[in-house]
Subunit: 157 residues, 2 copies
Amino acid sequence: MTYQLKAIGKVKNDENGTCIQLEPGYIPGLQALEGFSHINVLWWFSDCDNDAGRNELQTEQPYQGAPEVMGVFATRSPARPNPIALTASEIINIDFTKGMIRVAFIDANDNTPVLDIKPYTPSFDRVEMPGVPTWCREWPKSTEASGCFDWGQVFNF
Amino acid sequence: MTYQLKAIGKVKNDENGTCIQLEPGYIPGLQALEGFSHINVLWWFSDCDNDAGRNELQTEQPYQGAPEVMGVFATRSPARPNPIALTASEIINIDFTKGMIRVAFIDANDNTPVLDIKPYTPSFDRVEMPGVPTWCREWPKSTEASGCFDWGQVFNF
């Protein structure tokens, strides 16, 4: 049994930064998004939508200091059975006519398919006191703190 | 162009509570998940995987006090173009042999297909100071606070 997805839009990176450009038919879906500072963006790891990536269940030490072998469900690795990415992105502005959401950051390449957008709702998405393993205890405690952290020293993938 | 998903497991609700039961082949993917207090669970709104649900772009006042018409991308409505749900669930325990994660809560029916599991990573998932529209400003500020809130008075769907 398989389930079908279709892109609702794309990530666009240009000299002005990063935005999500919706397909014209989906623009009415943005109504009343104003007031939310962040969105959860679900997007497709298109580069890993292949047999090798989708059959990868474990990965070798994806982060500095992490366990030597990790299951993909314990990582954010793009190679996973269903290559769906999740990014909590800060909204800079929304053009409701053009169906364009400019965001502060999204770790996706130009033209990456976007699958869904949900408002970042503290009641459902914000864990006040999340616990993490020792090996990542020094990582930033929030997306805000994450913006000025040197991730190059952490990721092995 | 469509993208294919397959279930990696199911939500199971029984007298002992709620758990995610992985398909046997995916159990190695759990390795090294210990230490994370929460996971992001992506699951399939199977009841809305039909033409009517997937073509719904706007919904009538889904929450008390919300705008009368809202785009689905401004809501958590199960009827949306790609009916993927996202729940940040607290882990109670993990049986790494059986591939079973017992969770405190997940708002999914018994046998709901699970698509992906990601560790709740504060650097990527926890917004310290999220902004929300006036109409939901009284909602709980975290998942912890959400647990003892009367949601029956809020949801219209």
